[in-house]
Symmetry: C2
Subunit: 193 residues, 2 copies
């Protein structure tokens, strides 16, 4: 294998990760529909053909971006909470991580899920299914831990937690009110077992 090709192959995974990291940030701010290969190429100072080698179509890029956003959410919110026991401690750790994560990521464009959900809820297809699948998995995990914590109406609690966290993101994004996350923490505190 020629040295250049080896270097290229080595660089590829890192490049793909860097591309998708930027794609998640852009989509969090502007939505997935604005995330064209041309737009992303300009942002990354890459050629469009270079990007097409990674992602053959806009839909493929959108799906890979949803997958990267999920991976990032799991790494930031879910994995650190796995050190706690299931049930009440895990539920608290997940909720703390959830609000902290939202508060931190507003600086890079806001919540990916809030931005893309409203955009794709009326566009049936694989991208919508991927977003719905990720949101459902998170809501289900909150409900599961609430049930293990002895919460009677765990579905109700999970719905309220997700609504309130999303509401805090929306409030910060629309009004620039940094107090939005304190409102979410107070609401969580009142509801958690």
């Amino acid at each position: 294998m020629p040295t250049a090709a080896v270097a290229d192959a080595r660089r590829r995974p890192e490049t793909r990760a860097a591309i998708l990291g930027r794609a998640v940030d852009l989509a969090s701010a502007e939505g997935l529909e604005g995330l064209t290969i041309g737009r992303l190429a300009a942002e990354l100072d890459m050629s469009k053909s270079g990007l097409f080698r990674h992602f053959g179509s806009k839909e493929e890029l959108q799906l890979a971006t949803v997958e990267e956003a999920s991976r990032r959410f799991v790494a930031t919110v879910v994995e650190p909470a796995l050190a706690t026991d299931e049930g009440e401690p895990r539920l608290r750790a997940l909720c703390d991580g959830y609000v902290d994560h939202l508060e931190q990521q507003v600086f890079s464009g806001g919540c990916f899920w809030a931005a893309t959900q409203a955009e794709f809820d009326d566009r049936p297809g694989p991208v919508r299914d991927a977003i719905a699948g990720a949101v459902a998995a998170w809501t289900t995990e909150l409900a599961r831990q609430a049930r293990l914590a002895g919460v009677e109406d765990a579905e109700q609690l999970a719905f309220e937690l997700v609504s309130i966290a999303t509401g805090a993101n929306n409030r910060y994004r629309l009004f620039g009110d940094p107090g939005a996350f304190a409102l979410a923490r107070t609401a969580f505190e009142e509801r958690l077992p």
Copy 2:
């Protein structure tokens, strides 16, 4: 004035209302950015030049659509509640109307505010300001009535009510779950004084 011009002038207000009614429905489903004059003209089977006579630019059309969505919200949710006393009865009437209205309008594309807020929160300008102004006015009115009802942390309650109602709309739109509105009513019942 020639007869045709008189008829045209008479028809104009109705036509404008009909155009904006369709524009609100379209924007509720697909957002305001997709609401081009060409798209709307095709939907209404009108000429683009006919639409341009009503709205000189895409931004003017977007602003008029936000105004019509506000007018519709006030007529459907706020005005019927004005028959009740301020404070606890008014707060309940507003909240009942709020969830009923969301439940009904999901059939014509979902909540206009949920759809357009995520879209415009990163686009400074008059359209974003108009959306933020309407959302702020509604949140402020809920907080004012909560305060009159003797709620201690009225801002907190208003934030939670708006988050949960929006969360119900999102859940219905993403998962087609009609139980979303029952979840919102249960959450409201637990929270209202």
